[in-house]
């Protein structure tokens, strides 16, 4: 009740502001709240176009062939599906599955462990990570944008800056502005829940939605509200993925990590370089017991087209994901449960048809922009020996 009332007050207050800003910012797609835009980085079409160009520029890497877009490919819903973990410079692998850029504008923090507070800050790090774009510093990027005529005029037009006055602040602001245009809603689920279109979901998907909010307990972390759905609580949970591989070594790994007193920039390098350190999850950032093996709740929008799943890409299909949760946080039924498993993760007693319904429901979260992409649902009908 309280949440709804607060939201309505907020919404009433926003109407005036929204009308004034209508031309600059298009109204959000069905199912999404108004786009949060930082006051110091307003959206303009020119800035967005510049951001897109930067996002796709492969020169910003040690070998000249890795751009942001390599792992966040527009035609793959801004992921590198079907790779398990991303492939960066010289085909080196990181430790984590590329999260989609789509709707990242709504996240409270970036990266699977939330080590970055904003899209602007996030964009700084992959350039320097030795397994991603591997630049020794941001200088090579600045050298290009300060001298390349195709950038010079645009930077001056967008930011009123040229030559040495252009810094990474402007570069990352432009990239973030582009990323904020990648918001999609209007899925069959949105049309059913928020658009009054009662036939937008199939009967199986409607059953799946009921399981999603009730027996399946999914909605507790993948939030759906009265008027919108981000499908994330922006929090961190140990759901028994990855941490199981290092259970015995947690005291040693956690201890080493605390001793090292790593800065967040160092954390960025450590967690992508070493799978075992990676599995410490949120702990690498917040150093709390609660953070051990915990990762950020990802949105489920367009999830059917971004296989494989989980922070390490270890689960191939959505069906595998549901089975993992149905087992109470273990992928194989008889595997030991992680000591630090988050509360809330417990066996669900879903039947096989119920699992199928849930998977089918998740296929209804795909926005029209990505409707044609191959599905990673793995519904029973598709799984043939």
């Amino acid at each position: 009740m309280k949440k709804t009332a607060q939201f309505m007050l907020l919404a009433a207050g926003l109407v005036g502001a929204a009308l004034a800003a209508e031309k600059a910012t298009p109204s959000p797609p069905l199912g999404l709240p108004p786009l949060p835009i930082p006051a110091d980085n307003p959206q303009t079409p020119e800035k967005v176009a510049l951001g897109k160009k930067l996002f796709e520029d492969k020169r910003f890497s040690a070998t000249g062939d890795v751009a942001c877009a390599n792992c966040h490919e527009a035609r793959k819903a801004f992921t590198d599906s079907p790779l398990h973990v991303s492939e960066g410079i010289r085909r080196l692998n990181g430790t984590r599955n590329a999260p989609t850029v789509v709707n990242a504008a709504y996240f409270d923090s970036m990266f699977w462990d939330g080590r970055s507070p904003s899209l602007e800050d996030q964009a700084l790090h992959p350039f320097l990570n030795p397994v991603e774009m591997a630049l020794p510093s941001h200088e090579p990027i600045l050298a290009i944008v300060r001298t390349d005529p195709s950038y010079a005029t645009v930077f001056e037009q967008v930011f009123g800056k040229k030559g040495a006055t252009i810094t990474m602040t402007e570069v990352t602001k432009a990239i973030a502005a582009f990323e904020r245009t990648q918001v999609t809603g209007d899925s069959p689920f949105d049309r059913y829940s928020f658009g009054g279109q009662s036939d937008a979901l199939t009967p199986a998907q409607k059953r799946g939605f009921d399981l999603f909010v009730n027996k399946g307990r999914c909605v507790s972390c993948h939030l759906v509200e009265q008027t919108q759905a981000l499908f994330t609580d922006n929090r961190f949970h140990n759901i028994g993925v990855g941490i199981n591989d290092i259970q015995k070594d947690v005291p040693a790994l956690a201890g080493e990590f605390l001793k090292a007193k790593a800065t967040l920039a160092e954390v960025d390098k450590k967690v992508l370089a070493d799978k075992r350190t990676s599995e410490l999850g949120r702990f690498a950032v917040d150093r709390t017991l609660e953070g051990l093996g915990a990762f950020k709740t990802p949105t489920l929008r367009n999830v059917a087209v971004t296989a494989p799943y989980m922070h390490d890409g270890s689960l191939k299909t959505l069906r595998d994901v549901i089975v993992h949760y149905n087992n109470g946080g273990v992928t194989k039924k008889d595997d030991p449960v992680n000591d630090f498993l988050s509360g809330g993760i417990r066996p669900l007693n879903l039947t096989e048809p119920e699992i199928d319904d849930l998977v089918t429901f998740m296929e209804a979260l795909t926005s029209p922009e990505y409707a044609g992409l191959p599905s990673g649902a793995g519904t029973k009908a598709e799984v043939k020996p």
Partner: protein, 358 residues
């Protein structure tokens, strides 16, 4: 240095420790206690309520709470000198429950001391528990502190020995809340005599820490948040300058000061008390309760449960609560007011507002 100055010094050091502990829960903060070699900490886990269903099946929620507390306690650096288990390891005192709980506790990498809870006691009057965990009451000295463990969950002999046709029924009657057939807890005359003798040789300036399962003070009789002979026990402890009583049973943070005796309660790893009616979304093994708790996320079973580590650096107990899905809290003796306090919690702005919707 006069006593006030000494108190102030400890207070300031305690305040520093508080900030550090909340950002670095894995690192116990080192504090000066006269001689640095005498500094020590211990961890306290309580009220696991391991519950047997049938065969090899146990209630998963309670298992997970204890498993997690043990795993986290094992991560503490520097290592705590020992771990206390505060009672109610089992739900109905059976061998399978005590064995299963004992197996989980055996993963602790620190020495263990145990307190008897009523859920451990009333099936076989603590016989099997004793085989696993030792005597029902005892004392030990550690780095200048005298520790006493009492069995405070005894009651009238007539109730224990003559009233019930079976041991199982006796156990169930004592496990009930607001049960007109129940009976108040007590330490009993025999144990009080033992306590008097035990403390005779202890200098009055030695810090004394008493572990009991029930509060050695009277809070609420219907749930046995109560010890019938609390005043008599307090009278035995009263001559000592620094006395700390730490009890389980209540599954919530409580603190109090009576005379020179500081009281601290510890959290349960099983379930919080009281809890909201909506706490259990699905069928669960939770006891039926009528009074709702004002918060506790109904989804996260670990919410409003926890465990604690304790430092004894001033000869007074400083309780650091590790709380899941919540802000960790510290209850420390405040020499300025002469009582234990959660100093952070005194500021209304820092309180977590009660949850009024579910």
């Amino acid at each position: 240095m006069n006593p006030t100055d000494a108190g102030r010094r400890y207070f300031l050091k305690g305040a520093g420790a508080l900030a550090a502990a909340s950002t670095l829960p894995l690192s116990l903060v080192k504090l000066a206690f006269a001689d640095a070699a005498q500094d020590f900490t211990f961890a306290y886990i309580s009220d696991a309520h391991i519950q047997h269903i049938e065969g090899t099946k146990f209630v998963r929620n309670w298992d997970r709470g204890l498993i997690r507390a043990v795993a986290e306690t094992n991560l503490l650096t520097p290592k705590p000198d020992f771990v206390m288990f505060g009672g109610d390891l089992a739900q109905l005192g059976s061998k399978p429950e005590l064995d299963h709980g004992g197996e989980i506790l055996s993963k602790l990498r620190h020495p263990l001391h145990s307190v008897m809870g009523e859920h451990d006691y009333y099936l076989d009057l603590g016989e099997y528990w004793s085989k696993l965990f030792g005597p029902h009451h005892y004392s030990f000295d550690h780095k200048g502190v005298h520790f006493v463990v009492l069995n405070s969950v005894l009651t009238y002999d007539e109730w224990t020995f003559n009233r019930w046709p079976t041991a199982e029924q006796r156990m169930l009657e004592m496990a009930g809340l607001d049960n007109p057939n129940g009976s108040p807890f007590m330490v009993g005359e025999k144990q009080r005599e033992w306590l008097k003798k035990d403390l005779e040789a202890v200098p009055k300036t030695t810090p004394v820490v008493v572990f009991s399962h029930s509060p050695l003070q009277k809070i609420y009789k219907g749930w046995n948040f109560w010890t019938e002979d609390a005043e008599e026990v307090q009278a035995i402890l009263a001559p000592f300058e620094k006395v700390n009583v730490i009890y389980g049973h209540v599954h919530q943070i409580q603190y109090n000061q009576i005379g020179r005796i500081s009281f601290n309660a510890v959290m349960a790893t099983a379930w919080p008390w009281p809890y909201p009616a909506t706490y259990a979304q699905a069928e669960s093994a939770m006891p039926v309760l009528t009074v709702p708790m004002n918060r506790a996320d109904p989804f996260f079973e670990r919410d409003a449960t926890g465990w604690q580590f304790i430092d004894m650096n001033t000869g007074r107990v400083t309780m650091k609560f590790n709380l899941y899905n919540n802000t960790n809290r510290v209850v420390a003796f405040n020499p300025a007011t002469g009582r234990p306090e959660d100093r952070d919690f005194q500021d209304p702005a820092k309180r977590i507002p009660p949850q009024d919707h579910y």
